[in-house]
Structures are given as structure tokens and as C-alpha cells.
């Protein structure tokens, strides 16, 4: 178990290094002049003389051979200097850190409906195999799986905002945002809903919740369909196993057979796809934050990409990858805890 985790931990920096190498190499297609613009605050950049520009190129090593350039960039990145974000109008690292809690909150909230509803419906479908309920759930699932997130998001906005007026786009209402930004508002976790509760401001909690429900609904819609399908097929396989038959023959109540004997073993393949799900939820935040006009690193990346703000795109993608690798590591460890066969193998 420990060696398994240590091995994974050792692999982690290597993968992150590999990702940074790929992304960095891709950006070299641009050439030194375009790249320099990505490092400097543009207000300063326009006033610089050719000599100063050359000095800056020197500082960021843009005239050096590739390997050296990568080394310099990596060293700066490790020190937390990823360049200047034109979209965020602040250093890239700062822009990412200040926006990350919003994205994290969105992804965390989306996990609950995905895992809860997905597994629940998957088990229900498997237990009622080939009955009406099974067909119904499967049809909904495949339709859900075919819905592009931005189409669904637009529909959610139309129905729940424009028609019903329940879930407005954005992150917070104007009045709430002013309170949150005021100096005596405690920011412990930087997650809006949690901080609101800590501050005892139920009105802000409610406001943040109203803004997050639409995006969460959209983000989870596609992935509960995915999880449902995996749960169903895994559950069907387990239900046909001998030990389930034995349990039934012994007279164990059906409810107990399903929830104690079958479901637990059926969950193992479900945990393996959780990795794909984390990737999906994270990628999904990009488009969903744009549609719902929410603050977050996803919208930061999208805006930076449209405005050709290379430094931000590079830094943001790297950050997403680190989160992704960390998420997968946690899942692998959980998996090893659940399934002893993995750590022995």
C-alpha cells in the first residue's frame, strides 16, 4: 500500500514536468517577439525601448536555445512567476489563485448530484433489468450523454432565468458582492457558500446558492448519465455472480442482497471511471463558466484564448493539469483502499 502510494507520488512530478514540456514546446511555435508580449504588463511594454526589450528577452531567455529557455521558464514558474495576464490585469499566478476557489466550488457541488443520482439510478436500472423503469432510465441517460453542455446550459438559462427568474447568471448579486469584498468579511475557505455560513450571512449564502444551481445542474447533467451507465452494467455483472445467488438462496432479504452484497462490489469499476469524470467536470467548467458568466479559471482560460493572451493560457492549462493529476492520484489511492487486489498487484 505504502509503496503503491510512494510510486504514484514519485511519478506525479514527472507527469507535471512532461505536461509543462509539451505546452511550453507548443508555445515556441509563436516565436520570441510574440512571446515577450506575454511576459510584460502591456502598459509598460509599449513604452520600452529596443534596448530594454532586448534586456527583457535576456531576462526571460527568449534568445537562448530551447533547452535553456525551458529551464529558465520552469525556474520562473517554480518561483511563481508565470508572466503577466492581460485578461486578468494582474500576474498570472495571482489571477489563477484568486479565481480558483470559484471553479473548485462549482466542481465540488457538481460531484454530489453526479455521484448520488448517477449511482442511485444505475442501481435502480440494473435491479429492474428490462422492465419499463430500466428502459426509461437508459433512454434518459443516452439522451443526456448526447447533450452538448453548452446547449443544455443555454436551455437552463432560458427556462430557469429568463422564464422563471430563479437562477440568475453570474457569481453573486451586486449587493452581495460589495459585502463580500468589504474588509471585515471573513474569508476562511474562499468558497462563497461556506464563507457566507461562517460569517453567519444566510442572505449571501442563499444568493451564492441561487447563482450556482444552474451551472451545477448543467455540469452534472452529462456526467450522471455516464456514471449511471457504468453503474448499471457493473451492477448487472455482480448480480449474476455466484455469491449473490448463494445469499439469495440462504434467504437474505433482497434489499440486503442488493445494497450489502452486490452494490459494494459493483462500485469498484465505478471508482475507476471517477478519474475520467474529474477530467470531464474540470473541462466542463470552461464552457459552463462562460455561459453562466461566472468568475473562475475556466472563463479566464477561455477569455485569454480568445484574446490571444498566451501567458494566461499557458499558466491556466498547466494549473488545470496539476489539479487533474492530483485528482487522479487521490482516486487511485481511494481505489487501492477499496480494492485490496490493486495494492497487491
Amino acid at each position: 500500500m505504502t509503496t503503491f502510494i510512494i510510486r504514484r507520488l514519485l511519478l506525479l512530478p514527472l507527469i507535471v514536468l512532461g505536461v509543462s514540456l509539451i505546452i511550453f514546446s507548443l508555445f515556441q511555435i509563436l516565436g520570441p517577439d510574440k512571446l515577450l508580449a506575454a511576459y510584460v504588463n502591456p502598459n509598460v511594454f509599449d513604452k520600452l525601448s529596443v534596448k530594454e526589450l532586448d534586456a527583457l528577452k535576456e531576462k526571460y531567455g527568449l534568445n537562448k536555445p530551447f533547452v535553456e529557455r525551458y529551464g529558465i521558464w520552469l525556474w520562473n514558474a517554480l518561483k511563481g512567476d508565470l508572466g503577466w495576464s492581460q485578461v486578468g490585469k494582474e500576474p498570472v499566478t495571482k489571477a489563477i489563485w484568486s479565481r480558483f476557489p470559484y471553479t473548485l466550488e462549482l466542481a465540488l457541488y457538481a460531484m454530489f448530484p453526479v455521484v448520488g443520482v448517477g449511482i442511485w439510478l444505475g442501481v435502480a436500472a440494473a435491479v429492474n433489468r428490462d422492465k419499463f423503469l430500466d428502459h426509461f432510465i437508459r433512454i434518459i441517460a443516452i439522451i443526456g450523454w448526447s447533450f452538448p453542455d453548452f446547449v443544455f446550459g443555454l436551455l437552463v438559462l432560458m427556462v430557469f432565468y429568463s422564464v422563471l427568474g430563479w437562477f440568475p447568471p453570474g457569481t453573486l448579486s451586486q449587493w452581495a458582492e460589495e459585502i463580500v469584498k468589504s474588509p471585515n468579511y471573513l474569508k476562511v475557505t474562499h468558497l462563497l457558500t461556506v464563507d457566507a455560513l461562517i460569517n453567519g450571512r444566510l442572505d449571501i449564502f442563499w444568493d451564492a446558492l441561487r447563482h450556482i444551481i444552474g451551472p451545477v445542474l448543467t455540469l452534472s447533467f452529462l456526467w450522471w448519465a455516464y456514471l449511471l451507465r457504468i453503474t448499471r452494467s457493473s451492477m448487472l455483472e455482480v448480480l449474476s455472480k455466484e455469491y449473490v445467488r448463494t445469499a439469495r438462496a440462504k434467504g437474505v432479504p433482497e434489499k440486503e442482497v442488493i445494497h450489502k452484497h452486490a452494490k459494494r462490489n459493483a462500485m469498484i469499476p465505478v471508482v475507476t471511471v471517477a478519474g475520467a469524470m474529474v477530467i470531464g467536470l474540470l473541462s466542463g467548467t470552461v464552457i459552463i463558466e462562460v455561459i453562466f458568466n461566472r468568475t473562475g479559471i475556466g472563463r479566464l482560460a477561455a477569455e485569454a484564448a480568445v484574446q490571444l493572451d498566451y501567458a494566461t493560457v499557458l499558466g491556466d492549462t498547466l494549473f488545470y493539469s496539476v489539479i487533474l493529476v492530483l485528482g487522479n492520484l487521490i482516486i487511485d489511492i481511494l481505489y487501492a483502499v477499496f480494492d485490496p487486489r490493486v495494492r497487491l498487484g
Binding site: G18, I142, W145, S233
Partner: protein, 312 residues
């Protein structure tokens, strides 16, 4: 011998066909797919690529230079509800019906190109890794891991940003970051087949490596990869449309479902309280995309059920 083989093929084909016909969702998938193929083929007939704003000397509309750029037929950018002349309505001065119909071609073009290219690329990498094993395998698979550690939409976004906007750039980006699934699958399959008698026999006869992979191993491992590819078609089209929706893919006014939905964004956020007045602007391109993806998902599911009962 060969006659025997064809009859064997025929019975196998009939078995597959029977299995597909018995499954209603598979039938629905194939019907939908056939429908989209027909629409794509007859696009010039049902949505004539003419420009009513540019008349020739006889007063007839001129032909479009590029039928994939939706002609501007009205100077008002506000959406216009469906009418007899424009059955799906208009948005940004363009006919939605025209865009949806020609968008079918765009969807097929993007989906097939990226799927085929990335699958071939994945097969090459996976085959080399699986067949040679050892350090080659180790290096190639770690590279695969690294490529898998960047969220697909973001990596495609990064490369599109660097290469510049445009559909061809989107397709390059999605190919560069889309081959890993196929590579892993073919590698795993080759590891299994590699030790089979017929491969060992070919090896001991001194057959060249390339020939062994091409003639003996690939035909025995290719099916799951093709099924996986058909299941990926849908999500690839969604990703490409997503990039267009963000303004990174197809140029403005291109007959592409994603960029048409990009138009509607302004109208939905801009008209609180009366968004349903513009329902058609989201509904038609959105539905086209959902049905297209649904068709591929159903077909992929059906193929998987038929050819790989283990995965059911």
C-alpha cells in the same frame, strides 16, 4: 475455399444484421445517421447556395463562392421568427435552416477527419509500444500518460490559440490531443495477441515486423478500436462545436452548429423575461447537434453490443 469464406461472411453478416434489427435503439441510431447522411448529400438541393443580396444581370441571385459561409440575407441582426420562407427563422441576418443543413456537412467533415486521423495516429503509437515492448513501450506509454493529463478541451484550446483560429486549426489540435485512447486500446490488445501461435509462427518464419503487425496482428485487434472510434465521434463533434461556441473554431458566419449557437448567446443574455421569443435560435441548431451525437452514440453502443459482448 474462397467461396466457403464468402458464405461464412454472409452468415456472419446476417447474424450481425439480425442482432441490430432486434434492438430498437440501434435501429433508431442507424436511421438517424442515415437521415443526416442524406441531408448532407442533398444540402445543395434543399438549401440552395445562392446569395439574394447579389443579383446578376437577369435579376437572379448569384451563386455563392463558398457555400459554407452562410449568406447574409437581411441587414437586421435581431432574430426573426420562423416563416414559410425561412422555416427555422433567421439570426444575425442569416437563415438558420441554411446553417443547420450545411452544418451537417461540417459536422461530418470535422468528426470523420479527426476520428480517422487520431485513430491512425493512435494505432501507430499503440502498435509500436505493444509489439516491441520493453523501454520503447515504457517511453511511449509515459508520453501517453502525459498527453492524457491535460483536459481535452483545454489542450485543444491551447493549440488552437497558438495556431490561430479556424476549423482546420481546431482539427489539428483535436488530432494532436486525441489519439491516446486508441493507442492504449490497441496496445492492450496487441499484448494479448502477441503470444498467440500464429504470430509466433510468422516470427519464426522470419516475416518482417511491419508485415506481422499489418497482416496478422491488426486484423485481429482492430474491431474494438473501430467501435471506440465510432463512440468518440459524438464527443469530438461536441468539442469542436464547443470551441466554435467560444469563438475559437469556425469563423463568424460559417455553417457550423457551434458558431450558430454562439450568435444566440447575446440574445439570450440580453433579453431577460422574454427569452422564449427567440427559442428557435437555440432549438434548431441545438437539436441538430443533439440528434447527430445521439445517432453516433446509439450506433457505437449497438456495434459494441454486437461485437464485444464482454463490454455489455
Amino acid at each position: 475455399m474462397s467461396e466457403n469464406n464468402t458464405t461464412k461472411m454472409n452468415t456472419e453478416f446476417k447474424r450481425v444484421l439480425r442482432k441490430i434489427l432486434r434492438n430498437p435503439s440501434a435501429v433508431l441510431g442507424f436511421v438517424l445517421l442515415a437521415f443526416f447522411i442524406v441531408v448532407a448529400i442533398i444540402a445543395p438541393v434543399i438549401a440552395k447556395p445562392l446569395n439574394p443580396m447579389m443579383l446578376d444581370e437577369n435579376g437572379n441571385p448569384t451563386k455563392l463562392d463558398n457555400p459554407y459561409i452562410m449568406p447574409i440575407i437581411s441587414w437586421s441582426s435581431e432574430p426573426v421568427p420562423p416563416s414559410a420562407e425561412h422555416p427555422f427563422g433567421m439570426i444575425q441576418g442569416r437563415d438558420i435552416f441554411y446553417g443547420v443543413v450545411w452544418g451537417t456537412r461540417t459536422a461530418f467533415y470535422i468528426g470523420l477527419t479527426v476520428t480517422i486521423l487520431s485513430t491512425i495516429f493512435g494505432i501507430i503509437i499503440g502498435a509500436i509500444a505493444g509489439y516491441y515492448g520493453g523501454w520503447i513501450d515504457e517511453v511511449l506509454m509515459r508520453i501517453t500518460d502525459v498527453f492524457m493529463s491535460v483536459p481535452f478541451l483545454l489542450s485543444a484550446m491551447v493549440l488552437t490559440t497558438i495556431l490561430g483560429n479556424g476549423l482546420d486549426k481546431v482539427m489539428i489540435a483535436m488530432t494532436v490531443f486525441g489519439w491516446m485512447g486508441a493507442a492504449r486500446l490497441i496496445r492492450a490488445n496487441i499484448l494479448q495477441v502477441k503470444e498467440e501461435q500464429f504470430v509466433l509462427a510468422a516470427k519464426s518464419l522470419g516475416v518482417k515486423d511491419f508485415f506481422i503487425i499489418w497482416r496478422h496482428i491488426l486484423p485481429n485487434t482492430i474491431f474494438p478500436v473501430l467501435i471506440q472510434a465510432s463512440m468518440r465521434m459524438g464527443s469530438l463533434v461536441i468539442t469542436a462545436a464547443g470551441l466554435s461556441f467560444l469563438g475559437l473554431g469556425a469563423p463568424l458566419g460559417y455553417a457550423d452548429w457551434g458558431s450558430m449557437l454562439n450568435f444566440t448567446r447575446n440574445w439570450i443574455l440580453g433579453t431577460s423575461g422574454s427569452a422564449f421569443t427567440y427559442w428557435y435560435a437555440v432549438f434548431y441548431p441545438g437539436m441538430a447537434m443533439v440528434l447527430f451525437v445521439l445517432a453516433w452514440n446509439l450506433v457505437g453502443d449497438a456495434l459494441r453490443d454486437v461485437f464485444d459482448p464482454r463490454l455489455k
